[in-house]
């Protein structure tokens, strides 16, 4: 009898300790974000004097920084560019990868096998090993850099292997061929079979891939920085980079600008938290 209470207390104490440890760690992880939020409302002098709180400011708190950052970064335009690129590339890669994976699973021929093997092998190639020839081909020979479409095409190509791999695994395990045979007997064309029968069955894996790919496209810096140099076409990470270069000493404005960049994703994250975390775990564990 006594034994169990001691054990229970011990466990309770351990849990309280674990909770305390987690809260401290959590606070440390959140610290940089809190600093950004606090200082985005303050003026430079107050930030240098004391970056920690909203108290004791000489110039007071205001949203001036946000107004300045919003206009100087050309936020709306950069946001629009990022949105166009991310959405089109995500739609394109999801559709093309699903179709290619479907073809590979259902046609056991040499082309399927070679393509699939090539894709799996290519997944270990880091972007840095391709970027120089990429610029040389698309910038030199073809001369089609500085178009959003080029960036969309490249995003699609780079995420193709991983996406096909994921769709391949899912179709193999979860899409029964009997359904397609039934559709075929009923006189359904292959295209219609795919779009009306197979594609709806792929919903879970589609949502995983949409989350993984769109996050990667939205945040990517290196590839867009090689493709887009025209100021009108810059995506959000690129315009942040050039904005920081010009205003790096103007802390308040910088903090407001960084917060503006982070805000759209954070809002989306709060709404779709469960799906995003589920998608990331599914994507990593496969």
């Amino acid at each position: 009898m006594k034994q169990t209470t001691v054990g229970g207390n011990k466990r309770k104490a351990a849990n309280i300790l674990a909770m305390a440890g987690l809260i401290i760690l959590f606070a440390a992880y959140m610290f940089p974000f809190i600093m950004v939020v606090i200082n985005s409302l303050k003026q430079k002098r107050d930030i240098i004097k004391s970056p920690f709180s909203w108290l004791y400011t000489i110039k007071g708190l205001s949203f001036d920084n946000f107004v300045k950052a919003f206009t100087q970064m050309d936020f709306l335009n950069a946001f629009k560019n990022s949105l166009i690129v991310t959405v089109s590339a995500t739609v394109l890669v999801t559709l093309l990868a699903a179709m290619l994976a479907y073809y590979i699973v259902r046609h056991n021929n040499t082309i399927s096998k070679t393509t699939f093997a090539l894709m799996v092998a290519s997944m270990i190639i880091p972007f840095q090993a391709i970027m120089i020839p990429l610029v040389s081909i698309y910038g030199g020979t073809l001369n089609i850099l500085n178009h959003r479409a080029t960036l969309v095409f490249m995003h699609t190509g780079f995420s193709m292997a991983m996406s096909v791999f994921m769709f391949h695994g899912f179709i193999k395990g979860n899409v029964p061929i009997a359904l397609e045979e039934a559709a075929c007997i009923d006189g359904c064309t292959h295209a219609r079979t795919f779009f009306q029968i197979v594609l709806p069955l792929l919903k879970p894996i589609i949502s995983t891939m949409v989350i993984l790919n769109s996050l990667a496209f939205w945040n990517d810096f290196l590839l867009p920085s090689l493709v887009l140099t025209d100021k009108k076409l810059l995506t959000l990470p690129l315009s942040t980079y050039s904005f920081y270069g010009t205003y790096s000493a103007d802390y308040g404005t910088i903090m407001a600008g960084l917060l503006l960049c982070v805000l759209p994703i954070l809002i989306l994250y709060i709404v779709l938290q469960k799906q995003i975390i589920g998608g990331v775990v599914a994507g990593a564990v496969k």
């Binding site: 351990a14 849990n15 674990a18 909770m19 987690l22 760690l25 959590f26 992880y29 940089p32 600093m35 950004v36 240098i48 920690f52 093309l96 990868a97 179709m99 290619l100 073809y103 046609h107 399927s112 393509t115 894709m119 290519s122 270990i124 190639i125 880091p126 840095q128 090993a129 391709i130 970027m131 120089i132 020839p133 990429l134 610029v135 040389s136 081909i137 095409f153 699609t156 190509g157 193709m160 292959h190 795919f194 996050l215 945040n219 810096f221 290196l222 990470p237 942040t240 920081y244 910088i254 960084l258 960049c261 982070v262 994703i265 954070l266 994250y269 995003i276 975390i277 775990v281 990593a284």
Partner: protein, 290 residues
Amino acid sequence: MKTKNSGKDFCMFALPGMFCFLAVVIIPFLYGVYLTFTDWNGVSDTKNFIGLKNFAGVISDKQFWSSLLLTFRYVIVVVILVNVLAFAIAYLLTRGIKGQNFFRAGFFTPNLIGGIVLGYIWQFVFSRVFVNIGETTGFSLFEISWLSEPNRAFAALILVSVWQLSGYMILIYVAGFMGLSEDVMEAASIDGASGFAKLKNIVLPLMMSSITICLFLTLSRAFMVYDLNLSLTSGGPYGTTEMAAMHVYEKAFTSRQFGVGQAEALILFIVVACISGLQVYLTKKQEVEA
């Protein structure tokens, strides 16, 4: 009839995806191998075949080797710290504590944001917030900005990388811990296994598949760090924190030595491929079924 149909199928289903993949990944990769044997400077139309001269150029590029060495040091420290920390936090999170999902979501947040923005946020923290702590408390560790001194700038880079990557690995380790069978743990307790013995003999072997994934992800990400390197330290002070990926970029696009840059990129690729291949082989061997 059948062949004609499958040809149409191929064009409709397989060709568009294959075209994107080949045009963006495979052709540039092969062309890149070819580039390493030429003296192309990025602008001129002529490329002369110069044999292995670029590789000789790589060997004599001292900066490349020192950046590669630095990258190795960085990768080792980051991989160890990230995995130990993430494993520990995931363990704490799966003890049935309230608000588990909230914590997990919070720890993951840095991974939703691009390296450029994260680097700038931390640049502010290091150069203003920490310095302010140093000034007001007289704590000498923070009196000057970490980013202005080589060793501390390197430590800063590691700190931010660990901060970011561990949130991602926590998710994977939490999924692993949730998959541990209660029965096995209970059987071990009944047999009188202590906390540490349970961890070493039961939890670790059963978690090996999560560990394989996490090591692989942290290795490949740490080796290729670029965005964070660029925005946090941009290689400074005086190029002392320039990682290999950044050096390749500088070599090609700033110094305009495309051939040498591409040769270095290929060497980096081979190094990363070998190391992560070896890691997956070694840790996969340790995996067991419950």
